[in-house]
Symmetry: C2
Subunit: 187 residues, 2 copies
């Protein structure tokens, strides 16, 4: 099980951390011992929306070899949608089994063409922006449609992380991770 986190400048750190924390625990708690992941971007270092600098693991690797890509959101999504090199790279994930996003990350999945014919969601202020890229914008916290799983605004990243725990390792794993994190939100 190999996951690629897709990073870029002006990403929202909590979009990443809210998924990455519960999903990574699948390995440390022993539910998915062979779980591996890479932080991937077009540059060696990316800055979040407040200039926090993260050094990534892999620069623009071919994404076709991964089982899942996870795309966080952030203000940077708007310029990335128009970045031909970035979009070309992202499209290398076309055959990946699961394409996942949180918040405005779905705009990047959309611009890559991955949402054609699919139901999807995004940040509650960006429903209209997402509309042209998908079959239907759904005003729910998490929307799964075949190979695409999208989620809402930043705090839904934790719900999405736990949703992925269940998908990858079942409901007992999800509950074990939730308890470990002491997460109490309704989904």
């Amino acid at each position: 099980m190999q996951i690629a986190y897709i990073l870029f400048d002006n990403v929202t750190l909590l979009d990443l951390a809210g998924i990455y924390d519960p999903v990574s625990r699948l390995r440390t708690l022993g539910f998915v011992p062979d779980l591996k992941w890479d932080l991937c971007a077009m540059d060696e270092t990316i800055m979040d929306g407040y200039h926090l600098a993260i050094n990534v693991d892999k620069v623009a690797p071919a994404l076709s070899g991964y089982d899942m890509i996870i795309v966080p959101g952030g203000l940077g999504t708007r310029s990335m949608m128009r970045d031909r090199q970035f979009m070309q790279w992202l499209r290398s994930a076309a055959g990946v089994r699961w394409k996942v996003s949180v918040c405005t990350g779905s705009l990047l999945l959309g611009a890559a063409g991955f949402l054609e014919g699919r139901r999807a969601t995004t940040h509650f202020e960006q429903y209209d922006t997402l509309q042209p890229f998908c079959k239907e914008v759904v005003r729910e916290r998490i929307v799964e449609d075949f190979d695409v799983i999208t989620a809402g605004a930043v705090a839904s990243s934790l719900d999405l992380g736990l949703y992925l725990c269940e998908k990858l390792a079942g409901p007992k794993a999800r509950e074990a991770v939730r308890q470990r994190m002491d997460y109490r939100a309704e989904q």
Copy 2:
């Protein structure tokens, strides 16, 4: 209003991000326009518990000039408690108005002597470890006692972030940030 985030190897990324996201929005939403913060550590780059590398803003700055320090938790807290240089640096925050931690970050506040005579909390599996450092371990999600605010396991970082939003800018600011994040957890 100047905040120092105290980072170290094997920190938990979501402990940081869950506070940093809502608190940073106080500036972008205009509630605390002069809000500033630095990511601080003993080295230029720190690794989270899964080898994600963050470049910090300041290496071991004197902490006495800040209005608030925020200490995330993580497995790294146990070795940091025994790291004389790190602890000496952390103690430079003795006179800082607010000393804040989430999860096992309270063990570092404790080892620095900041919890003497104070009520405090930590990760639910570490109550016994925290006990010797404070007057009383309180099994609540967020505990404030004079200059110290401590919180529970990793998911409580978001609750603590919103708690700090209210402390720094009032209940309307807190609610505006919560809505913007679409955070729905009870506290």
